[in-house]
């Protein structure tokens, strides 16, 4: 009787499609109009034409008449031409910054999840603080420290290091990316490690594995999905970053793809090239994004189970 009853009401709640659809419609329409359609608009401009007189991009709304002349040029430029340097640099910077972020972030998240003890809440709060400090404020802080008469520059001069940090230094840009994004890595890493069943690691230790073996054979495989997802989570915005670079270097020698997009769309009026680069970046990132969405969906399924 009881199961029959709850079964009935269950269907009741699930069975009011009109109300639920009504609630979902405004937000869905909003996202179609201002998220999905804009992507289509990017494609239409990327594969459109250039007005011969005003030199402005003319969108081609009909996909059947898309023209790929400029696209071919930009893509080959990214692969082998003038933009090749930018493409390679973007990947190298992001990979280095993500790697460094893991080297810093993983031990911290691990300590926080396993050994923080009584101080855990305090440490957690202190680690969340940078999350809430404006990104530009954190960059501004380093611009002040690294400028010619900045505290850090003067401090380093004591040791005989005389380096121009803010003038096209790849080291500054990569470390700036690390500084900017590492807080966004630590929290998801911590959440992953916190969820692990550490009894399995203890079991491995009891069965004779040393701590390194237990880490490599138990901890790492168990947390792999979460680690990859956390890495993707910071790699995605880094791939599109241009402001870190702009604030800490401002030199063409450290430009990333984001800087080129910003340049084509905001500084010069070559929106077609900008649209093409946005498209190229999106296609490149689509793989990471779908991987991330799939892995988080699996995780949430496991949780609800």
């Amino acid at each position: 009787m009881d199961t029959l009853h709850s079964g009935l009401t269950q269907t009741n709640l699930k069975n009011s499609p009109r109300l639920w659809a009504g609630l979902a419609i405004p937000g869905t329409v909003w996202l179609i109009a201002l998220f999905a359609i804009p992507f289509y608009a990017v494609a239409c401009i990327a594969f459109g034409t250039i007005d011969p007189i005003f030199r402005d991009a003319v969108p081609q709304w009909n996909p059947l008449s898309w023209n790929f002349v400029q696209a071919r040029q930009i893509f080959s430029s990214l692969a082998t031409g003038a933009l090749q340097g930018v493409a390679i640099r973007t990947v190298v910077y992001v990979v280095s910054a993500v790697t460094l972020s893991f080297l810093i972030g993983f031990p911290i998240a691990y300590f926080l999840a396993r050994h923080a003890g009584k101080r855990k809440l305090l440490l957690l709060v202190l680690i969340i603080v940078p999350f809430w400090v404006n990104y530009l404020m954190r960059m501004l802080a380093w611009v002040n420290l690294l400028s010619v008469d900045g505290l850090f520059t003067r401090f380093m001069r004591v040791f005989g290091v005389n380096y121009n940090w803010l003038d096209g230094s790849p080291i500054t840009v990569i470390l700036g990316l690390v500084y900017g994004y590492v807080p966004f890595l630590i929290l998801p890493l911590y959440a992953t490690l916190e969820r692990l069943d550490w009894r399995l690691v203890d079991a491995a230790r009891d069965l004779g594995a040393n701590s390194r073996q237990a880490f490599r054979l138990v901890t790492l495989p168990m947390s792999k999905a979460g680690l990859v997802a956390a890495g993707i989570l910071i790699a995605l915005p880094m791939f599109g970053d241009y402001y870190t670079n702009d604030l800490l270097s401002r030199s063409p020698s450290t430009e990333m793809i984001g800087n080129q997009i910003d340049f084509f769309l905001n500084a010069s009026s070559q929106p077609q090239n900008g649209a093409l680069l946005v498209l190229a970046l999106s296609i490149f990132l689509l793989f990471f994004m779908s991987f991330y969405l799939r892995s988080t969906r699996q995780q949430s399924k496991q949780v609800t189970r």
Binding site: P17, L19, L34, L124, Y135, L140, D149, V278
Partner: protein, 290 residues
């Protein structure tokens, strides 16, 4: 045993405190320099409130452009909240409960903006507003639409997590007692969603007031300049410590909102007999379940 593990982890302990110093001290130095008496942002020349309010032209509270940026930031953040909160709550409930083919579509559509790099969203909206929806001018209107679009997904995620933890039984009970579907939603479910609503208000406010990329792509010059845009355009110039003061003000604002939100969340929880405290409230606003 426990002493043993603590000892063996002392390098990690050292690392974590080192990290905290590294992540916070530069910002603190920038805050301190907002009280510099001289024009330099790097050489200390004594303490004063010159760049906060004493200087009649270039202090934060008296400089027309900086005040303009502060007002623009606040107006943008609050307007975004007013639109995105109801939109997001409705979308969260609806998208959790619709079934069939549209379920996957709507869920995909709501989760993608969360991980799309901002530059892609900003560029796409810029091109859309200048070439397709030309009725919407760049500036405040475009910035508002852009920020709502970008923050909608985070409201949905926060509210949906709460929906899952509430479950269906309360609404079912209300239905059994004779409430209509709408009444059960309005008088039973909605009040229970309050913590997630408060968390989304805090998160969205902080996101919008800190937003640089979308707001910058969709701005139309000084009239729609926000605080982050102002910071961005003057960091590398010869700006005075008033810039540090402006950035400090921005940080203080988001912290004030965060603290009010955390306080509100834990009070609500206590009053309604839910387990919680600071850690639960932190989990609400960071979406990290610990």
């Amino acid at each position: 045993m426990s002493r043993n593990t603590q000892k063996s982890n002392s390098p990690l302990r050292f690392l974590i405190w080192g990290y905290i110093v590294w992540s916070l001290v530069p910002v603190m130095i920038a805050v301190i320099f907002s009280f510099n008496d001289g024009r330099s942002r790097t050489v200390w020349q004594g303490f004063s409130f010159r760049w906060w309010w004493q200087d009649p032209n270039s202090s934060v509270f008296q400089n027309a452009e900086m005040r303009n940026a502060i007002v623009n930031s606040l107006v943008l953040a609050i307007s975004t909240l007013l639109i995105v909160t109801p939109l997001g709550i409705a979308l969260a409930i609806g998208s959790q409960r619709i079934r069939g083919r549209s379920e996957k579509f709507v869920q995909g559509l709501t989760s993608t903006p969360l991980i799309t790099p901002e530059i892609v969203v900003g560029a796409a909206l810029l091109l859309t507003f200048t070439r397709l929806f030309t009725a919407i001018p760049l500036g405040f209107a475009a910035q508002l639409l852009g920020n709502v679009t970008f923050s909608l997904a985070s409201v949905v995620v926060i509210v949906r997590a709460r929906l899952v933890s509430i479950g269906a039984s309360f609404e079912e009970a209300a239905r059994d007692l004779g409430a209509t579907r709408w009444q059960a939603l309005r008088f039973v479910l909605l009040p229970m969603l309050w913590p997630s609503v408060m968390a989304s208000l805090v998160v969205v406010f902080a996101t919008v007031i800190d937003d640089f990329v979308i707001t910058s792509f969709l701005s139309a010059g000084v009239s729609s300049e926000t605080v982050p845009l102002r910071i961005y355009s003057s960091v590398r110039g010869g700006a005075t410590p008033a810039l540090n003061a402006l950035a400090t003000l921005l940080v203080l604002t988001s912290f004030a909102v965060l603290i009010i939100g955390l306080f509100g969340l834990s009070t609500w929880r206590k009053r309604h007999g839910e387990r919680g405290g600071l850690r639960a409230a932190l989990a609400d606003v960071t979406q990290i379940n610990s």
